[in-house]
Subunit: 202 residues, 2 copies
C-alpha cells in the first residue's frame, strides 16, 4: 500500500502516529510517499486547501483533530505555525524514502511539530529529527537539494496528481484510492483482501 | 442533539439511513433541522461545496459513498441528478419538523433518491413521499410555501451559519459541533456523556 502524504497536512499527524502498528497487525507493507499538495491544488485552479479561507471549517478542524488525538491516545499540542513551509522537509522525506528511513524521519518530524511545537519546515525541526536518527544534517540537506532528488519529489507530486489525489493522507492499492485518516483502517483491510492487486502492481 | 442537514448533501444519505437506530440505542433524542447550505456558503464567499470544481474529489466522493453504503449494508444506486434543487424539499422538511414528521419524510425522500433514482426536489419525489406518509401533497406544498414557513427555514439557515456550520450532516450538542456521517457515533456518545448540556440548552 502506498501512503501518500503532505507534511503540512494536519490530519496526517494522526496517520503518521497510527499507521505502523495498524499495518503490522494487518501484515501490510507500507510505502511512504511524500508529495507536495500545494502545486497539485494550484494545477487544478485552487489557491489553497479546504481550511484557509473558510474560518469556521478551520476552527472545526482544530477541534476535531484534538478530539481524534485524544480518542486515539496520542499526545497533541496545537502548533503555533499553520500552515508550515514544507518544501525542504518533503525533499528530505523523499530522499529518506529512497534510502529506507522515511517512516522514522517523518514520525520524528511530526512528533516535534505536534508535541513540542517545533514547527515542521524550520531548521530546528529538521536538525533535531536528523540528529535523533543519527544522521548528519548538513550531508542530508545537501543530498536532498540535489537536482535528482528535487526531480524525484516532482515526479511523486505528478504521480499523485495523475492518480486523482486531492488531499493528505491518501492511500492507494493499485487504482483503489482511500482518502483521510478516517479511512486508514479501510485501506489496510482492502490491501489485505483476496482480490487485491499483487504487490508489484501497487 | 440537533441533526442539521441539507437535502442535497450526498453523505447525508448515510446519516439519514443510520441515525434512528443509533440514536435509539444511545437513548438520545434527535431534533431534525433542515437548512440550506448554498446560501450559507455564498455568504462566506464560496460559490459551491467542496466537490463541484474539483473533479478528482467528486469522483472519489461517489466511490467512497458506495463503499460506505456497502459497509453499512445500505441500498445504494448512484443518482442521475447531482446536485439536486432542494429548496422546496427543505421547505417541506421545515414544516414537517415543526409538525413532528420530518424524520419519516426525510427518510422517504432520501430512499426514493438513493435507491429508485427519483430525484430529490422533483415533483415526483415529493408527491410520492408525501403520499406514502398519508399526507395530501397539495395541502403540504401550500403550507410549506407560506411566508411564515419560508422564514422558519431562513432562520434555521441563519442559525446554522451563526453556529459555524459549514457542511452537512452536522450535529450539535450545546456549542459542541460534529461534522460528517463519520462523526455520527462520536456525536451520539458526546450527547450521552455526563458533562453534556441539559436538553433545554441543546
Amino acid at each position: 500500500m502506498i501512503f501518500w502524504f503532505e507534511y503540512g497536512s494536519t490530519y496526517t499527524y494522526l496517520t503518521v502516529a497510527r499507521i505502523d502498528a495498524l499495518a503490522a497487525s494487518a501484515d501490510v507493507v507500507v510505502d511512504w510517499r511524500p508529495f507536495l499538495l500545494g502545486p497539485l491544488l494550484k494545477d487544478r485552479g485552487m489557491a489553497q486547501g479546504p481550511f484557509l479561507g473558510n474560518p469556521p471549517k478551520l476552527d472545526y478542524m482544530w477541534r476535531d483533530l484534538s478530539r481524534r488525538a485524544q480518542a486515539y491516545g496520542l499526545p497533541y499540542r496545537k502548533p503555533s505555525v499553520y500552515p508550515p513551509n514544507t518544501l525542504l522537509t518533503a525533499r528530505i522525506g523523499t530522499l529518506a524514502a529512497m534510502q529506507g528511513w522515511c517512516d522514522a524521519f517523518t514520525r520524528e518530524v511530526f512528533r516535534l511539530h505536534w508535541t513540542e511545537d517545533i514547527a515542521i519546515g524550520t531548521d530546528d525541526n529538521l536538525r533535531r529529527a536528523l540528529t535523533t536518527l543519527g544522521r548528519n544534517p548538513e550531508e542530508v540537506m545537501v543530498a536532498a537539494q540535489s537536482d535528482a532528488n528535487k526531480q524525484l519529489l516532482r515526479a511523486a507530486t505528478d504521480a499523485a496528481e495523475a492518480m486523482g489525489l486531492f488531499g493528505s493522507p491518501s492511500f492507494t492499492i493499485g487504482d483503489e484510492l482511500f482518502w483521510g485518516d478516517d479511512r486508514l483502517e479501510d485501506a489496510l483491510a482492502f490491501a489485505q483482501s483476496p482480490g487485491r492487486p499483487a504487490a508489484g502492481q501497487a
